[in-house]
């Protein structure tokens, strides 16, 4: 008994055994009796009228069960967008229909036009080849800068200028005034490159209809099965929610891309009733590239006004954000609420104003990808700050120190209130760990080898655990942002936890078990975590935005505390003491000041075998649930230091050293937290050096549609990261935790680009900083 050292312990993961032995169960591993298989026929054009679809040949092909196209889906609603943004003129954003299969017009390469269902994948693929779709190709636009030009092809009739919204945030007048009085203005114009998430498990779904009770079961690779169910039943299919069970079993990575309700999920669910057979679809990787929601894709002009000492006076940001061809589930909120509200960064800049044009293009919808808005904001702030230091001939560490927020709580001019932090402490720790003092010698030594060495910093802030629901609602959220948890204590004192959070690599089965075992004073092996099934879990908002431990974990803690409180009542009865005299510690209910005590398992047994029990006052059983709606965001922050070497002959950049010091509040499992940081850094460095989605401007074709064209980070692209932690506990959740999932991807890109621009002595290098890009930057104007 007693596990007093579980919090802060690198407990090995409970989930690993099944993953290591091939016993994980991912969506594509599920096969139902009488299974059929679906293949989606997708638009090969960026923009086209679908003149006709001839199905006869496909329908007559061997094994074909059904073929459906947009016209068959009749009155089924389009996919909804979960966040309403208003333009500066007060008008609501333009919300064009997002049909589950194209109706009349296809708007991006990969837009699903029809689905072929057959007895086997091979037969469905063969038949899909026989489907005759007659397209009338239309002019298309893929780049945001082109899309907002007068006369650009309109993606939707209801938005003839391709603007979904023009949103403003902050005090424009105060910012203009500060700029007018500034000693110096640092200005940069850059893109935040478009990324393709690429979880290694492709999206997949398997839908089953049961005529006996008119119910549906959908297995789907998804990060939030209750949200998926709610959106699909209430907003698209009009099905009764209690007749639909959504299961997200083991999910092979999400990074945001599996938050959303996708057309394929809805088509399969609907069609499973039409054919009265289970239907499975698993994306081929090429489909993932052209149908998973992409990330980032901003074009920004950013300016920072300073006084003569390098104190920040104001920031002004104008961003064109690519939303793609349709509004994906949370697309509208990413470049607005999750972006402009973070532009204060770690600094006390008194006035900030941002303007964002959400723009439709003939590209795959863009939505949340690891960090979602916050990497884009951090890139703006930290590229500006580093460049400002160079403009002002100040040390980049010194200019940051000069402008750090030092008193908490701190209300930023962009709407957030940071509860706690110590930015100088994380920066000091990073500077020390990176041996910044030794950099000049390393630079000199690199020079002897013919390499240009540079150093770059980034001090990021992020806002996690989006909350509270009522404030989010006032900002346009169409969903609640709480989390739910249930604690089921079994008669023997073993515990099953049901959580609305979803684990797709984060290790909740271990971390959450540590939290519960610690709080109940029982063994971690006595706690199991269940998630990802609307048939088991009471409710849930799922996992995204680094929210699981801060919000989902807190919901569990609240339910555990209810269990303890009920246990105290039972213990008081058994030991004939006043309830107020019962203390719960180390797994025992004890009468204060005496040695009379009862173990947790004894109380559990009493609750289920209530012979000596206050039945007149207390229900039997020991099972509690809780919903937790946070009072604020959490604010993880950190300081990153990157050193690179550039080969001046080839432009090849190598990351020589990367130090990350993060403040995630309290840490439950340092091993898992470090793993999250390492993975985030790999994605951030991938964005900075390797990854970039490209479309052909003329044809709208996706040029980076395979792993041969889209450069994923591989093991030999990355260094060993050095990771440190500083702790200022979050002030408003009982665990004092802030969230760690996205930090690495948020903080790292600007540090890499700051290091490269330092190495080669240029003002800016575009991401991804490929050898060609770096070489050209070095030789521009030469």
């Amino acid at each position: 008994m007693g596990n007093m050292n579980l919090i802060g312990a690198s407990v090995k993961r409970k989930e690993d055994y099944r993953f290591l032995t091939g016993a994980g169960q991912y969506t594509d591993d599920v096969v139902f009796p009488n299974q059929t298989y679906a293949v989606f026929v997708r638009s090969p054009h960026a923009h086209a009228h679908v003149r006709s679809i001839k199905k006869d040949a496909a329908l007559q092909a061997p094994g074909v069960v059904a073929v459906f196209s947009g016209e068959d889906t009749g009155a089924i609603g389009g996919l909804p967008c979960g966040w309403l943004i208003h333009s500066m003129d007060g008008q609501p954003m333009k919300e064009p229909p997002h049909p589950i299969l194209a109706k009349g017009t296809a708007r991006h390469v990969g837009d699903p036009v029809a689905v072929v269902i057959a007895e086997s994948y091979a037969q469905a693929r063969d038949a899909a080849e026989l489907l005759e779709v007659d397209y009338d190709v239309l002019p298309s636009v893929v780049d945001v800068r082109d899309a907002v030009k007068p006369g650009a092809p309109a993606v939707h009739d209801i938005a003839p200028d391709n603007r979904c919204y023009t949103w403003g945030h902050g005090d424009k007048v105060a910012v203009e005034k500060a700029f007018a009085a500034a000693h110096h203005v640092t200005k940069l114009e850059f893109a935040n490159n478009r990324l393709i998430p690429n979880a290694i498990e492709p999206r997949a779904a398997n839908a089953l209809y049961n005529r006996a009770d008119d119910s549906y079961t959908l297995y789907v690779a998804n990060q939030n099965p209750h949200v998926e169910r709610l959106l699909m039943t209430a907003f698209v299919l009009g099905l009764p929610e209690h007749k639909v069970r959504v299961v997200a079993p083991d999910v092979g990575g999400g990074f945001g891309s599996k938050i959303f309700l996708y057309a394929e999920d809805v088509v399969l669910t609907w069609a499973s009733k039409q054919v009265n057979r289970p239907i499975k679809w698993t994306a081929e990787r090429s489909e993932s590239f052209m149908s998973d929601a992409h990330g980032r894709d901003h074009h920004t002009v950013a300016e920072l006004a300073m006084d003569k000492d390098g104190n920040f006076l104001a920031m002004r940001v104008k961003t064109l954000a690519n939303l793609g061809a349709y509004l994906s589930t949370f697309a509208s909120s990413v470049p607005t609420i999750l972006y402009a509200t973070l532009l204060a960064g770690q600094y006390k800049t008194p006035a900030i104003y941002a303007e964002v044009v959400g723009t439709f293009t003939n590209t795959v919808p863009v939505d949340a990808y690891r960090g979602a808005g916050r990497p884009e904001a951090t890139y703006v702030v930290e590229r500006l700050v580093e460049t400002a230091a160079r403009d002002m001939k100040l040390d980049p560490v010194e200019i940051r120190r000069r402008n750090f927020i030092r008193t908490f709580p701190y209300a930023t001019p962009v709407g957030l209130t940071y509860d706690t932090g110590d930015y100088e402490k994380t920066l000091d720790a990073a500077v020390k760990m990176a041996d910044v003092g030794g950099f000049p010698a390393r630079k000199e030594e690199a020079k002897k080898r013919g390499k240009l060495r540079g150093i770059g910093y980034s001090c990021y802030i992020e806002a996690c655990g989006l909350a509270p629901s009522n404030i989010a609602g006032a900002l346009g959220a169409r969903a609640g942002l709480f989390e739910a948890g249930e604690v089921r204590v079994h008669p023997t004192g073993k515990v099953t936890i049901f959580t609305g959070s979803h684990s797709h690599g984060q290790g909740h089965e271990t971390t959450f078990a540590q939290v519960v075992a610690d709080r109940l004073g029982i063994g971690i092996e006595d706690v199991d975590i269940q998630h990802g099934d609307t048939g088991k879990i009471l409710f849930g908002m799922g996992t995204y935005g680094s929210r699981s431990l801060a919000v989902g974990g807190t919901a569990i803690v609240k339910a555990v505390d209810k269990v303890i409180n009920k246990g105290k009542k039972i213990a008081a009865h058994l030991m004939e003491a006043a309830e107020t005299d019962i203390e719960f510690r180390d797994g025992f209910f004890q009468v204060a000041g005496t040695d009379k005590k009862k173990a947790f398992a004894e109380i559990a047994l009493t609750a289920y075998v209530p012979h000596n029990y206050p039945l007149d006052k207390l229900e039997p059983g020991l099972n509690e649930n809780a919903f937790y709606d946070p009072t604020n965001f959490t604010y993880p922050a950190g300081s990153y230091v990157c050193e690179v070497e550039v080969d001046p002959d080839t432009g090849v950049t190598q990351v020589m050293s990367f130090v990350a010091v993060d403040d995630f509040g309290n840490v439950v499992n340092p091993m898992i937290v470090e793993g999250q940081v390492q993975g985030g850094l790999a994605q951030g460095i991938g964005q900075a050096l390797l990854e970039g989605c490209r479309y052909d401007a003329e044809s709208g074709q996706l040029l980076t549609g395979t792993y041969q064209d889209y450069c994923m980070p591989r093991a030999d692209d990355l260094p060993n990261f050095r990771i440190g932690t500083e702790v200022t506990p979050c002030t408003h959740n009982p665990l004092g935790v802030k969230g760690c999932g996205e930090a690495g991807a948020i903080g790292s890109p600007p540090s890499v680009i700051n290091a490269i621009t330092d190495a080669i002595g240029v003002r800016d290098v575009a991401m991804p900083a490929t050898p060609e890009t770096v070489w050209r930057a070095m030789h521009a104007g030469a």
Binding site: L20, G22, G505, P713, A715, G744
Partner: protein
Amino acid sequence: MPSKVSITVNGKAVTADVEPRTLLVNFIRERLRLTGTHVGCDTAQCGACTIHMNGRAVKACNVLAQQAEGADIVTIEGLAKADGTLHPMQEAFRENHGLQCGFCTPGMVMSAVEFVKTNPNPSEREIREALDGNMCRCTGYQNIVKAIQAGAAAMR
């Protein structure tokens, strides 16, 4: 036309009719229902489908089932001992947090086992280069490299 193939998979002889176009990975997953071998791409890049075929690590998405006629195949399900004890490389991945979502993991482990057999004492750089055919999106590879170093030591 379908034709008969006879393969030994995880020590068990199997004979089945397969179409000429059936990939070995589909045969393993769909016919044998050994779903630990994963498919992450369709271009033989990601390595999630890596298995051992006659002692060599191969990408099962890049082999036709009929090409495996007579082959001795080991999948991730066949790596641990019959009593469930993990192979030293599996244990090293667990011990070093070399996995997160678990999807690339079977391929990583199968690649690592074969690599270490040919290079029992690899340097970090050699491991990173050897992993060129296996993608992981979760871990940033650092702990995978550590795991393979530890697994190599345990297998020596």
